[in-house]
């Protein structure tokens, strides 16, 4: 799909947000899904880059990305009015909780963006929404106010530069402690972030009766399930799952982390 850049802004260290408009099936977007964005228009970049959908509103879609290489560098240089070639929405997103459930959302670093759309969608379904978001340092954090407006947010920074000093696990513990005895236990834990964080979160809830979902990342070529470039293994390590088509969101008991 050919869309048009509406605006871009640097929102944190090396981190940009970009909003586009134009023909795109906005209505179909599920939280946790992603788009594949073409880089440039010539032959230099043959692979699109996968970027999660952070927010969608009427005919506008917003992504948030960190500049780590040539593709994201190019993306950060887009100007309002520039065309963009995007494919999506792709993959399977987060299954929403049942009404009235207890929900915890956990995000780390550049894994945070898709959780915004998730939080927006979860919010109307539940009484209370808890959010634990970790960043390396305050300079890396973004959308803190927006998240805070959707739920009970505890941010954390590894270096203590803001929020809770420590990791998301420390934030989760703080959230646990702060919960009133009357509040409903967490039925769902939704996580997105670096693999070590996902492992730690799953580990933290080992033995708890929660339904956990994680979003995985891998280098992708096709983004649609055709090339088998982006696989992970099932929990029993006997079969492969394509992150782009069978995920990126998986039940954390289903896949080997």
């Amino acid at each position: 799909m050919k869309v048009t850049v509406m605006n871009t802004a640097q929102i944190a260290r090396k981190t940009w947000q970009l909003t586009f408009t134009g023909s795109f099936p906005y209505g179909e977007v599920q939280p946790g899904q992603f788009v594949m964005i073409r880089i440039g228009s010539g032959t230099e970049h043959v692979l699109r880059r996968p970027i999660s959908i952070a927010a969608v509103k009427e005919d506008r879609l917003t992504i948030v990305f960190r500049v780590v290489g040539k593709g994201t560098q190019w993306l950060s240089e887009r100007k309002p009015g520039d065309g963009l070639d995007v494919l999506g929405p792709l993959g399977k997103g987060y299954p929403l909780p049942h009404t009235g459930a207890g929900v915890l959302i956990v995000g780390g670093g550049i894994g945070v963006p898709p959780l915004y759309l998730l939080a927006e969608r979860v919010r109307p379904l539940v009484q209370q929404l808890d959010l634990a978001l970790g960043f390396q340092t305050a300079a890396d954090s973004f959308w803190i106010d927006q998240f805070a407006s959707l739920g009970n947010l505890v941010p954390a920074a590894d270096d203590g530069s803001f929020g809770k000093k420590g990791t998301v696990i420390d934030a989760i513990k703080l959230l646990s402690e702060g919960r009133s005895p009357k509040s409903r236990p967490w039925d769902y834990v939704y996580a997105c972030g670096p693999l070590p964080m996902l492992k730690a979160v799953k580990q933290h809830f080992a033995g708890h009766k929660v339904q956990g979902y994680v979003s995985l990342e891998e280098r992708m070529a096709c983004g649609v399930g055709a090339c088998c470039g982006c696989v992970c293994q099932t929990a029993d390590r006997t079969a492969a799952k394509r992150i782009c088509a069978d995920g990126p969101v998986f039940d954390w008991n289903e896949v080997a982390l």
């Binding site: 043959v46 096709c222 055709a226 470039g229």
Partner: protein, 304 residues
Amino acid sequence: MKKPDLSVEIAGLRLRSPVMPASGCFGFGREYANHYPLRLLGAVVTKAVTLKPRLGNPTPRVTETSAGMLNAIGLANPGVEHVVAHELPWLAKQDVPVIVNVAGETKDEYVEVVRIISQSGLAAAVELNVSCPNVKAGGITFGTDARILQDLVQTVRKVCTIPLFVKLSPNVTDIRQLALAAQAGGASGLTLINTMIGMQIDIQRRRPVLANKTGGLSGPAVKPVAVRMVYEVAKVVDIPVIGMGGICSGADAVEFIMAGASAVMVGTANFTNPRACPEITAEIEQFMIEQGINSIAEIRGCIA
């Protein structure tokens, strides 16, 4: 002006268009069937099928390079039984010829898979992927030794009742020798080129980007090498040649046809643009109209 005829006949197969996806870049067709009807293709070419299911290599398996990409998928596939039971029946209903790409680690494995595919009645042709290490011959790739290749093709030929294409590796000193060996072994046609072995290093982490260390290079970067090899091979063999390697546009496809290819395959470009195959077909047609060319045969191999 008369509409040009894009159909081609190759080894007895009649294809509506000279453009088809390259093996491994199109799954078993289901994903791209969301983008356009598969009957717009000359044929569907499946990813490599092996005797047993294979998980493939550890990840990362793909990475981008300048005007190209490296892949080390490692022949991940659900195995021939599953493919015959669950993929080919669906594909057979798409009104398009199906070419099944077959890989193996021993001659026996190739024979067994080809026999099953051929007997299934669900495939129009087989494409032998011979860029795999021959475990019984110390890991030397089937497709880089003319004697081993001829013997493999000869043996497989006996159990293959449908057209048999042999897909040549570019990682050789003289690809004509391999082409002639495949022809002597009874290949109905040749497809080339498979990927070139390459490597990319993550200098921050001081390790290869791909978990498998090396991978296969494909995409526009390799096109000049691919065109040259098609040109060389088409000059020396009597069987049809299907060309590929970096094709992204109708103009690219026409280069291969003028170099001697009867049809072309499109791999990496499907990732850049999921509608690549039908768009390339339309561009070839446009070029033919502009130049007053009536059929593909009219320009095939027109480069002296």
